[in-house]
Structures are given as structure tokens and as C-alpha cells.
């Protein structure tokens, strides 16, 4: 089986860190992972592929814990025009994102100067 290839669109600040110029990066998850893929597992894969993003989308685990920290407050997550953010890191990935037809979008909330 082929690995799942998930396309993730990053905001401009984070593209500066990954050094990527396209509209999205692609991360791979093991074949057969589809049913269990959540926002959190996609972020796991994203941070593995681009360690420079660690701490910039969600906080580090608390001291002595391996559970990822909370999502950062001004960062939102969209797929198929749905806001996944309220469901947090346990939000399931829509099949269209798992199949690579749609993009998971990470967006910085409108704020600042």
C-alpha cells in the first residue's frame, strides 16, 4: 500500500521557516492510517518532516509528558471550508484531505500590524 500523502498549506511566516515556496507542503503517513488520522497526527508528521515548525503551531509537551501541548491561540485549521480548530487535535481528517484531493490549511488569525 502507498503511504497517505496529505497536503498542508502553511501561512507565510511558517513558509519562511520551512524554506518552501509552493502553496502547500506534503507529509506522509503510514498506509492504512486513514481511519485514525486526526489533526494531531498530521501535525506530528508535519513536525517530523519540518522540525523548524516545532513550537510554532502548538506548544511543546508539558515537562515530563509526551502529549503535545495545546494549539497556539492565533492559529486556525481549515479543511473543505470547515474550521477544525474547535475540535482541537482530535479533529478527524476529512476523507478528501486523506486522499490528497483537498488541502489542510493552517492559517494565522487576522491580527497585528
Amino acid at each position: 500500500m502507498e503511504p497517505l500523502r496529505i497536503h498542508v498549506a502553511l501561512p507565510a511566516h511558517l513558509r519562511r521557516l520551512t524554506g518552501t515556496s509552493g502553496s502547500a507542503v506534503t507529509v506522509e503517513l503510514p498506509p492504512g492510517a486513514g481511519g485514525a488520522v486526526t489533526l494531531g497526527t498530521v501535525l506530528d508528521a508535519l513536525e517530523r518532516a519540518y522540525p523548524a515548525l516545532r513550537g510554532t503551531i502548538r506548544d511543546y509537551p508539558a515537562a515530563g509528558s509526551s502529549t503535545p501541548g495545546p494549539l497556539r491561540p492565533f492559529v486556525r485549521f481549515f479543511a473543505l471550508e470547515d474550521d477544525l480548530t474547535p475540535a482541537g487535535q482530535s479533529a478527524p481528517m476529512p476523507p478528501e484531505v486523506l486522499s490528497g484531493k483537498e488541502v489542510l490549511r493552517i492559517i494565522g488569525a487576522i491580527a497585528g500590524g
Binding site: 511566516h13 523548524a52 516545532r54 513550537g55 510554532t56 506548544d59 497556539r72 492565533f74 497585528g112
Partner: protein, 371 residues
Amino acid sequence: MSQVRLLVGTRKGGFIVTSDAARKQWEISGPHFGGWEVFHIEASPHDPDRLYASLWTAWHGAVIQRSGDGGRTWEAVGNQFVYADADATHQDFDGKPIPWRFKRVWHLEPTLDRPGTLYAGVEDAALFRSDDDGDTWEELTGLRRHPTGASWQPGAGGMGLHTIVLDPADPRRVFVAISAAGVFRSEDAGETWQTANKGLRATYTPEPEPEAGYCVHKIATHPSRPQTLFMQKHGGVYRSDDAGGSWTNISGNLSSDFGFPISVNANEPETVYVVPITSDTQHYPPDGALRVWRSRRGNAEWESLGEGLPARDCYVNVLREAMAVDRLDPSGIYFGTTGGQLYGSPTGGDRWDALAMHLPPILSVEAQAIG
């Protein structure tokens, strides 16, 4: 042939500004990390092409970057700063206890004696050290555990540890300054700390001379005179000749006792520079005239330096980290403004040139003389 390299952090990215030793023609590269607030870029004293940069945005928090080629390319290094005792508290603006929380890195200071070891001064005020060139960071907990720690309160810009001064003659001696706690000195490489605020006056607290609680804006020293420190404070310029044991007000004839940066000429250990700012509520130069003031004896006698600087209608600020000197002879002096102007003087302050006029608001300036 020597080269001068200025490391400029701004509200929207970092810039590297270079010249030959004549310091007349300058080239600007950047923005590096466009869109990120670059609080500080600093070079290793052991390798001029080894640079460290502190980045931050409200969306994505703090990031540290490292370069091995003078800033042409960068890589992310460690940005995990864990407080040893997350449940401890300090005081908020209103005096209520509030837990310590890491927000961002204000200042990076590579050690003089150990390549790959550097300090980071962070907000909420704490000191971290990396022994692996920035890959991982560990807190030096003795500072926050000082008996005054629970009473520290933020300044208007946040409770940042913004100044780290090292003693070239004694690698175990470290000074830090915190807004608005004051100056602290360690004689054991940061393990334990004493306050170093005697002689200062706090004009904004009920008690005028507390052990801690001083809004120190910046301290500076000359490598050849590590016992002598100069300070620009919220309310006065001060001098210490006993390594922070006591301070004397040398504000003298300055046009204002308020300002942020302070620097010492690289070749003249008694020549000091400040940029007076009108007041704590009016963060622009007195009378709209941007002036650097110089004391050649490190005392209360100051002269105003304005040739080449705007003489009227200038209402920018110069932030605490935004002034630096190079070690050529004569020493070059540089500063950046919140209006994005970068000024330099290759003549020790007698004449100023505009090196850049339209950068984003400038947060920090460091100067390197290479070769």
C-alpha cells in the same frame, strides 16, 4: 581589509548591513525572516560568521535561528524554554501573583570563553544557557529563585531580561538587567545571584530604594574595565566603579533623564553615548531634534552630537537594544530608530550618516568588525 557588519533586527525581519573599513558605502541584505519580529541578532566572538537570531510573532511564538556563513543561510535551532517551576509566581502590573510563562527571547549573548555556549535572556524574566550552540536550552534557576523574584513586576514592554554583560577577565561573573526588577550579579556563572541596585532610586514605587524593582533600560561596559558599568535607567544615567556594588547618578546636563540604549566607545573606555528621550510618556527626542549625547569622561558632563541627524520634526524612539559600537579606530557608533532609520558615525559621534532610511521599526543593532 576589515569589514564592518551590522546585524539589524526589526519589527518585520532582519537585515545585514555591510561596509569596508572606510564605513562610507553600505550594502543592505534582507529582509531575513521577512514578517517575523527579529528581537536580536548576535555574533559569536569565536567565529564572526556564526550568528544567532531571536525571532517572534504573536501567531507562532519564539524561534531561534543559527547561521554558519555570516547570515547568508540559517537553520532553526532549539526554541523550547522550560521553566523549572511552572507553578511559581511573580507579580503582575496590579501586584497580583501571576505564574511565570515563557513568551520570547529578548537577548542572546555568546560566552567569551566557550565556543558553542551562549546565554538567552527571556520574557518572563529568566536566564537560559545552551552548551550545544543553541540546540537545547536549560534555565539557570537561581536567578528567578532570588528572594526578590516573587515580587518582580513587568515594565510597560513586558518583564524581559534584556541585558547580559559578561566580564572578559572572569568568565564566572555575569550581570543581567530586568525590566522592571533591576540589575543582578552572579560570581558563579549564573548559579547564584545578588542584587546590584544600591544607589539607584525608583521614582515610581512607594519605596524609593527597594532591593529590587528598578526599571533599568540598559547597562554597558568596556572590556578593559569590567569593574565599571554604565546604565541608562527609567530616570537617569548612572555609573558604577565597583562592579555594580553602588551606583552614582551622572545625568548631569543631559536634555532628559529618560532614554533606552547606552554604549561605550570601543577604544575609549570613558566615552559613553546615550540618546535622550523626552519622558516615559513621550517616547521621542526633546524638541523633535534627534541627538546622541556623549560624555568623554564617563561623568556628568555631556555634549550634544547632532551633525547629520534631524534637527526638527523628528518624533521617533531609539529602543534599548538599538545602539552598538564597532572596534575599529576611531570606533564606529550605530543606532536604529522606530522610524526605520539606521544612523552611523565612523568618527566616534562627531558626524552621522544615514545608512538606511526606510527599514521597518528597528528593535536591535549589533556591530562586528571582521578581519
